[in-house]
């Protein structure tokens, strides 16, 4: 392992002398964490509503005023004609139709909440679903007020449902996505940079001068991995600080638990990337293959969409994807404060991947053709 010191020194000098990489490593995480959580947001805003009021009562106007007051809705049309509202929905000018039936106020005063019809355009499924849910909550809140003011008690089956959202009380989509962005950042840095570094040596021919020396495959591979493990942790720190300072989201759980998982994840992903680089002759080849896997990891590891929404067979495939375990750990520790012991299986899986991929990276590095 005496050679490793010299190889690592060489990697560090080369990194420092590179005009682009240090700046990229410093600026990239901050920029991504400043922009991505704001733009990649599925929070439903500006749901256009057509309000069909067939009751023309004080209570229906109360419901309308609640909808108008909400930051989520823009009431585009108030009418008594359902067909007119439906035409607007079909033309895409409104997203949701709220229909207040005739005799609505009378029923409420009698202690019964009649059914309110909500029709949503579900082409944008999230907007349709969340929009109609928000509307139900707004109407429920308006009706509770009316009931309280008039001393009415609603019948048990018509009480508005009581919903409480744990861990992300404001249903802020950013909180769900921020751990995913942190993982995407680490994944990009720890996959692409070491792989490209290695393939660049092949393209320049410098690797031949190394291959003709007695340096061991493990030492050379470690010299390509260790700097990027450190850089991965720097990126994580930048991400955590930016998210905390800008969005006020600090990890609920232990920071140590996050770093432990991040160390295992960077080992696994950089080992995986170097394995691919070992099998590639050109940068183009390695980038294409890496991009293929990184895309699959991003789409199938539960970063952007929940694992539970995937078909069963696809869920089984994800068992061999390291990011699947890291995202589970990061979300649980960040948002719920879960401990390492409680997430033992995920940590063990990541540790297993780290050992296997680093070993495979060393074994697939070929000094003799």
């Amino acid at each position: 392992m005496k050679c490793l010191k010299f190889l690592l020194r060489k990697e560090i000098i080369q990194f420092r002398r590179n005009k682009f990489l240090p700046r990229l490593i410093f600026a990239f995480p901050i920029l991504i964490m400043l922009i991505a959580p704001i733009v990649a947001n599925m929070e439903v805003r500006g749901v256009n509503v057509a309000f069909v009021d067939c009751d023309h009562s004080a209570i229906s106007r109360r419901v309308l005023s609640h909808l108008n007051a909400s930051k989520h809705f823009m009431v585009k049309q108030v009418t008594a004609d359902y067909l007119l509202a439906y035409g607007l929905l079909e033309a895409g000018r409104v997203d949701v139709i709220v229909s207040i039936p005739e005799g609505f106020e009378k029923s409420i005063m009698g202690g019964i909440v009649p059914k309110i019809k909500v029709d949503a355009n579900a082409i944008n499924a999230t907007k349709g679903m969340l929009g109609s849910q928000y509307i139900m909550m707004t109407i429920a809140s308006a009706l509770s007020e009316v009931a309280a003011e008039n001393g009415l008690s609603m019948s048990a089956d018509s009480d508005p449902a009581s919903v409480r959202y744990f861990y992300n009380e404001t249903l802020d989509y950013r909180f769900y996505m921020i751990p995913a962005f942190i993982i995407i950042l680490i994944q990009l840095v720890c996959c692409f940079i070491p792989a490209l570094n290695l393939v660049l040596e092949k393209e320049k021919g410098t690797i031949e001068q190394i291959n003709v020396t007695p340096v061991s495959r493990l030492e050379f591979t470690l010299s390509k991995l260790i700097p990027y493990w450190i850089i991965g942790l720097v990126v994580l720190t930048e991400g955590i600080l930016t998210v905390g300072l800008v969005y006020g989201l600090w990890p609920v759980g232990s920071t140590g638990a996050i770093y432990l998982a991040a160390i295992l994840f960077t080992f696994a992903m950089s080992g995986f990337a170097v394995t691919i680089a070992n099998g590639s002759d050109t940068m183009q080849q390695s980038i294409f293959v890496l991009f293929f896997f990184v895309m699959i990891f991003m789409l199938m590891s539960g970063m952007l969409t929940p694992l539970g929404s995937m078909p069963r067979w696809a869920q089984w495939i994800t068992v061999v994807f390291p990011p699947r375990y890291f995202i589970a750990i990061l979300r649980a520790v960040y948002l719920k404060g879960t401990t390492v012991l409680e997430l033992g299986v995920d940590y063990l899986a990541l540790a297993g991947f780290a050992v296997v991929f680093c070993m495979v990276a060393a074994l697939t590095y070929c000094k003799q053709e």
């Binding site: 050679c3 010299f6 060489k10 080369q14 590179n18 410098t206 003709v212 007695p214 000094k367 053709e369």
Partner: protein, 239 residues
């Protein structure tokens, strides 16, 4: 005299193409052995097998006493290698390159510093110790590649077309460096397609289409082929 390189029927095939076709030769310790041939004759493929960079398809042999089929990594401890393509790190300085390769061969920081100072002094390049290698002219890059290949005092140095693309004065200086290294007991195995460089070698082999067509001292070969120069020997062999 002990042979430091011995090969028998060394062959390398890439699919149906035979790059090196059953070559056999020995190189005694301290000799400058010229491995001559036209471009594409198989010189680089042969040298890569001897250095442990490529597995032979067939044949047997030893380099520095180690089997080329099974002991490639042991061979690498006893040789220095200068690639046909410049392969030092352009973004490291002259000294940093020497330090890296000296360190890989197990030299201590102190030993490296002393050896680097000695080598750079010898070629009057001490003032450029901290220059980035990428910024050096080609002739100097080649000289530096030779110094790096010999930084750990190897038993054998393999030089693959070391004078390719350099001017005649630098070529002459380069051969002076090679002869100095040989005079201290290092065996030099050098490939080239410049036939005039054969005169610097103790013995030469001439390779064509993967086979060794002639092998002896330059004077014996010139006599045998009734030629005035090695160029003429080469031309006659080509016919």
């Amino acid at each position: 005299m002990d042979n430091v390189i011995e090969v028998r029927n060394l062959t390398k095939r890439f699919g149906s193409f035979t790059a090196v076709d059953a070559i056999s030769f020995e190189v005694p310790k301290g000799e400058i052995f010229g491995f001559l041939g036209a471009n594409g004759a198989g010189k680089t493929t042969a040298i890569r097998m001897l250095c442990g960079l490529s597995f032979p398809t067939e044949g047997s042999g030893t380099v520095a006493g180690f089997d080329i089929m099974t002991q490639g990594e042991q061979i690498k401890r006893h040789i220095g290698y200068m690639s046909q393509r410049f392969s030092l790190y352009g973004d490291l300085t002259v000294f940093e390159n020497m330090q890296l390769f000296g360190g890989i061969y197990g030299m201590s920081e102190k030993q490296i510093a002393a050896r680097a100072a000695e080598l750079l002094e010898k070629v009057q390049f001490s003032g450029h110790r901290n220059d980035l290698v990428g910024s050096l002219p080609l002739g100097w890059k080649q000289k530096l590649a030779f110094l790096v290949a010999t930084v750990h005092n190897p038993e054998i140095v393999f030089l693959d077309e070391p004078t390719g693309g350099v001017d005649p004065i630098t070529r002459r200086q380069f051969w002076t460096m090679i002869r100095e290294a040989a005079s201290s007991g290092t065996t030099i195995f050098v490939t080239t397609h410049y036939m005039d460089e054969a005169g610097y070698c103790n013995r030469v082999s001439i390779m064509m289409d993967g086979r060794i067509k002639a092998l002896d001292t330059p004077s014996v070969l010139m006599k045998e082929y009734k030629a005035e120069s090695m160029n003429e020997v080469f031309v006659k062999l080509c016919r």
